[in-house]
């Protein structure tokens, strides 16, 4: 095959693939509105073009298949037959055949051996009557008539004359002086436009070239930043104004080049009608797909990244969400389910919503499954709100489907969807109303190449934090530095509007060692994976538009960095991966279930029910609390009454042997120094349950308060439920059962035996 031929075939392939994608959509649209002639005409033209080119390139099998399809389409267009689902299926299989042949052509340079005889047979059977000749363009006479450029009487006369005259109708009309030349030219142009469409106003550009342009613009942005910085140091007015101009032009150029890479979301959506149709047929359901905001534009790279997640969500919606017609009718809904996709721009992000009017997600099912999978305790699950429960569907291996179909229900899906969306800096959340449907909302950035970022520094090193993960900035000065940061078991926290915010010192996470810390504490509040935490840095500079550059493969394994960028001064700065930092600092170590559990805690207390609490100290600087309902008595024992039974400390108490647990030792605190020990008296909190008692040795009893407890911070420490603010101070909540179990694993078993 000559080079020219290869070129032609390449072009043919590109064009045909594009057209075939369009066909899928058109066919499904046609099924809904079978009378839409313009659609049929469009489909017809596409197949016609493929047939023509295949003939020209000497691909007889492809030509034969396209021809069979064309014949059916021609009948449809003329209204000789109606579009039935079986016809649509036949035509779709024809499209599949054409696509397969094109694939083969692309791979091996020939059209393959498959003849698709059966498909051709079916198509032929549909054409009971012989196909009429094609007339793809509207007649010139009709156009002229419509434009009012010719008198109907004159036109009829001209048509009459054409029967004996070989000349074209336009020429005859012109010769008869029935039409003005200008009007004829206009009409001819209109006729050609009907063929050509918009293809004349756009050109195809190689994606590689666009990427290169984008890179160059990135470089230009950097150079611009450098010049602006340079200009700021100089007092040269002319230079400043020139660099301002450069600034403006660069910004505009950047926006322009970005737009060339933008594609309407329709490019992904085009495949959905076909997916929906095939799936609903396979599931025996009726589904209508509604697409809104098709023209919403996204960067090419992002389009690629959301293709699979989107298809997956749509599949889920049809397979699990939308019910069969009979179920729907019984529930008082229309027989046809509606799957609504909406895309729109908002706040510099692209929003995509996929909602269905199906059965929704049953929170009880999710709860049961979550407990069954050990993601949450049954007790806790009971107190979780529906919204919190629904987030479980993004956990790996989670599926509420009763059966596994070949489409979905295996539980490997929504977690991948979430991971993929988060990988491109997006978020996904789900809403559901049982019986009324579910809706999944995706938010993704417009582009990945140039992002706004906050520049911070820690121990003399500069880092960029992507704006998307940023929440707010807090600055502590003077006295606040000492009082603002509190510690729970050594973990620093900050009270952000009454809520505890875990703090992560950037220099500690990154093992940066250099000069002493600055006089102020700058907290960058960031969000990673539903968790907020404060990143403590030495200084916060400006936000800048940065060009994201990937790190070399030697550094790919570092999860703490998302890439690097070149700053205005030409030096390289690393871009922090907030999620990676959070994982490294163990903020999201038990990644998702912890945040879920925490939400559960918060939702439980949202009722503002007050709880009586006993406050005490285990050692000098730690406040702890237990619910008063668990406290039987408070006692003081002289130390010498302490006795040993087996491996345990015990004391004789009301004719019984009371088991004692030293909380200080259990929580791993250093023993109280002699000076601070409360003399020879032991402070003991006696806790009773079902007739069995245990004594908890504490350092000092503080108070009994009645407060609504909002658990703010969970720790991984055994025996501690978490921390809360009680009486304005950070207080740990003791998990009495866990504490007893830890000190004596058999305690509760003995009780059972007794």
């Amino acid at each position: 095959m000559s080079v020219a031929d290869t070129e032609i075939i390449k072009e043919f392939l590109v064009e045909s693939y594009e057209n075939l994608d369009l066909l899928d959509r058109e066919f499904v649209a046609l099924e809904r509105e079978p009378a839409a002639r313009d659609r049929i005409a469009a489909v017809f033209r596409t197949i016609h073009t493929i047939k023509g080119t295949a003939g020209f390139l000497g691909l007889p099998r492809l030509e034969a298949l396209a021809h069979a399809g064309e014949s059916v389409l021609s009948l449809l267009r003329d209204g000789d037959i109606d579009l039935t689902p079986s016809t649509t299926s036949a035509l779709l299989s024809m499209v599949d055949g054409v696509r397969a042949m094109l694939k083969c052509l692309e791979a091996s340079g020939n059209e393959g051996n498959e003849t698709y005889a059966s498909v051709i047979e079916i198509l032929k059977a549909i054409c009971e009557r012989p196909a009429t000749s094609d007339a793809p363009a509207p007649l010139l006479g009709e156009i002229l008539l419509k434009a009012g450029a010719v008198d109907p009487v004159d036109l009829d006369a001209a048509i009459e004359q054409q029967k004996d005259d070989p000349r074209k109708i336009g020429e005859i009309l012109l010769a008869r002086n029935s039409v003005k030349p200008e009007a004829l030219v206009d009409a001819l142009r209109a006729q050609t436009d009907a063929h050509a469409g918009v293809s004349d106003s756009s050109i195809r550009v190689d994606v590689g070239l666009l990427d290169k342009l984008m890179n160059l613009v990135g470089e230009l942005v950097l150079a611009r930043n450098q010049i602006l910085q340079f200009g700021a140091q100089r007092k040269d007015a002319a230079f400043v104004s020139t660099s301002q101009r450069l600034n403006l032009i660069t910004t505009e150029l950047q926006a322009g080049v970005m737009r060339t890479r933008m594609q309407p979301i329709a490019n992904v959506w085009n495949r959905l009608p076909r997916v929906v149709r095939d799936l609903s047929v396979a599931c025996g359901k009726q589904v209508r797909l509604e697409l809104e905001g098709k023209e919403t534009e996204l960067d090419r790279t992002i389009i690629e990244a959301i293709k699979d997640p989107l298809t997956h969500i749509v599949r889920n919606a049809i397979d699990h969400g939308i019910e069969t017609s009979s179920v729907r009718l019984a529930a008082g809904k229309s027989a046809t389910g509606v799957l609504h996709l909406r895309a729109f721009h908002e706040g510099g992000q692209v929003n995509i919503e996929i909602s269905d009017d199906g059965g929704g997600i049953d929170p009880d099912k999710v709860r049961k499954k979550a407990v069954q999978n050990g993601l949450v305790t049954a007790d806790r699950a009971l107190h979780m709100g529906d919204r919190e429960l629904l987030r479980f569907i993004f956990m790996p291996g989670f599926s509420t489907a009763d059966r596994v179909s070949n489409l979905s229900g295996r539980g490997v899906g929504m977690d991948v969807v979430r991971t993929n969306i988060e990988k491109i800096g997006g978020t996904v959340e789900v809403q559901s109303q049982l019986g009324h449907g579910a809706s999944i909302k995706i938010k993704i950035p417009l582009t990945l190449a140039i992002i706004p970022a906050l520049i911070v520094s820690s121990r003399g090193e500069r880092f960029a934090i992507p704006q998307v993960s940023l929440r707010e900035l807090v600055r502590l000065e003077g006295d606040q530095i000492r009082t603002g940061v509190e510690r729970i078991h050594g973990v620093p926290v900050y009270r952000l509007r009454g809520k505890l915010l875990p703090l992560v010192y950037l220099h500690e996470v990154l093992h940066l060692v250099a000069e002493a810390p600055a006089a102020t504490i700058n907290i960058v509040v960031v969000r990673a994976d539903d968790r907020q935490f404060g990143l403590v840095v030495d200084a916060v500079s400006d936000t800048e538009e940065i060009v994201v550059k990937p790190l070399g493969k030697e550094l790919k394994s570092l999860s703490t960095f998302a890439g690097a960028t070149i700053m205005g001064d030409g030096r390289v700065a690393l871009i922090l991966d907030v999620l990676g930092i959070a994982q490294r600092a163990n903020v999201v170590s038990e990644v998702r279930d912890r945040s879920l559990a925490e939400n559960a805690q918060e939702s439980r207390v949202s009722g503002e029910e007050k709880q009586a609490l006993l406050l005490f100290r285990v050692c000098k600087d730690s406040r702890m609390a237990i619910p008063l309902s668990l406290v039987a008595r408070l006692e003081e024992f002289p130390r010498e009454r302490l006795e040993r039974a087996g491996a345990h400390d015990v004391i004789q108490y009301r004719g019984e042997i009371l088991r004692l647990i030293d909380l200080r030792a259990m929580l791993g605190r250093s023993p109280i120094g002699e000076d601070e020990a409360s003399g020879d008296l032991l402070q003991v909190v006696v806790s009773s349950e079902n007739g069995r008692s245990v004594g908890l040795i504490v350092h000092r009893i503080l108070d009994i308060v009645e407060e609504s407890v909002a658990m703010k911070h969970r720790t991984s420490l055994q025996g501690i439920l978490g921390a809360a603010i009680i009486q304005g101070k950070v207080t740990d909540l003791l998990d009495v059962h866990a504490a007893i179990r830890q000190a004596d694993p058999d305690f509760f078993n003995q009780h059972d035996a007794a």
Binding site: G218, E219, L222, E461, R462, L510, H511, L512, K549, L551, G552, K553, E554, L555, S557, L558, T560, F561, A564, T565, I566, G570, R571, V572, A573, L574
Partner: protein, 154 residues
């Protein structure tokens, strides 16, 4: 086969190395570097090479040699790899030498396994030996912890 090969030569500590000249993109003076926290000690940092971010590998550390005196700035030998350019930080740049295949010998068996991994052969020069560096292996720092602790050439 018999065509003489050209080598870009450089010194790391007192070792004399050569890299196939076709693999070398450029040699540049010391560039300001951005340290990469948590990265392997072999990775010295990132440099801005005309808008491209290039990882710089400290050859002394890579070869398990003692660090360069602080008053001595390294040179960058930027080599091409399949994953883009990578810079090798070396002490001093030598001449481009033309080598005959015939002067090439295999690395002595007695050399440690790690050293053999990085050095693909030895050219015998007048009064000097030229170690041919295998750049692909040198820039592959995924398994460098052992190289650091063992000291490849020491």
């Amino acid at each position: 086969m018999d065509q003489p090969k050209q080598f870009c030569t450089f010194f790391v500590a007192d070792r004399f190395f050569g890299v196939d000249v076709t693999r070398v993109q450029e040699v540049i003076r010391y560039q300001e570097m951005t340290r990469v926290p948590l990265a392997s000690a072999v990775i010295s940092g990132l440099i801005n090479l005309r808008g491209q971010i290039v990882t710089a590998i400290e050859m002394r550390a890579r070869l398990g040699l003692p660090p360069r005196p602080s008053d001595q700035l390294p040179m960058n030998v930027v080599v091409r790899t399949s994953e883009g350019p990578v810079s090798l930080l070396v002490d001093e740049i030598g001449d481009v030498l033309e080598m005959d295949e015939r002067s090439l010998e295999r690395v002595p068996e007695t050399m440690s396994a790690d050293a053999k991994e990085l050095v693909s052969g030895v050219h015998k020069l007048e009064g000097q030996l030229l170690l041919v560096l295998d750049t692909d292996r040198a820039v592959n720092v995924s398994g460098t912890i052992s190289a650091q602790s063992h000291g490849v050439l020491s």
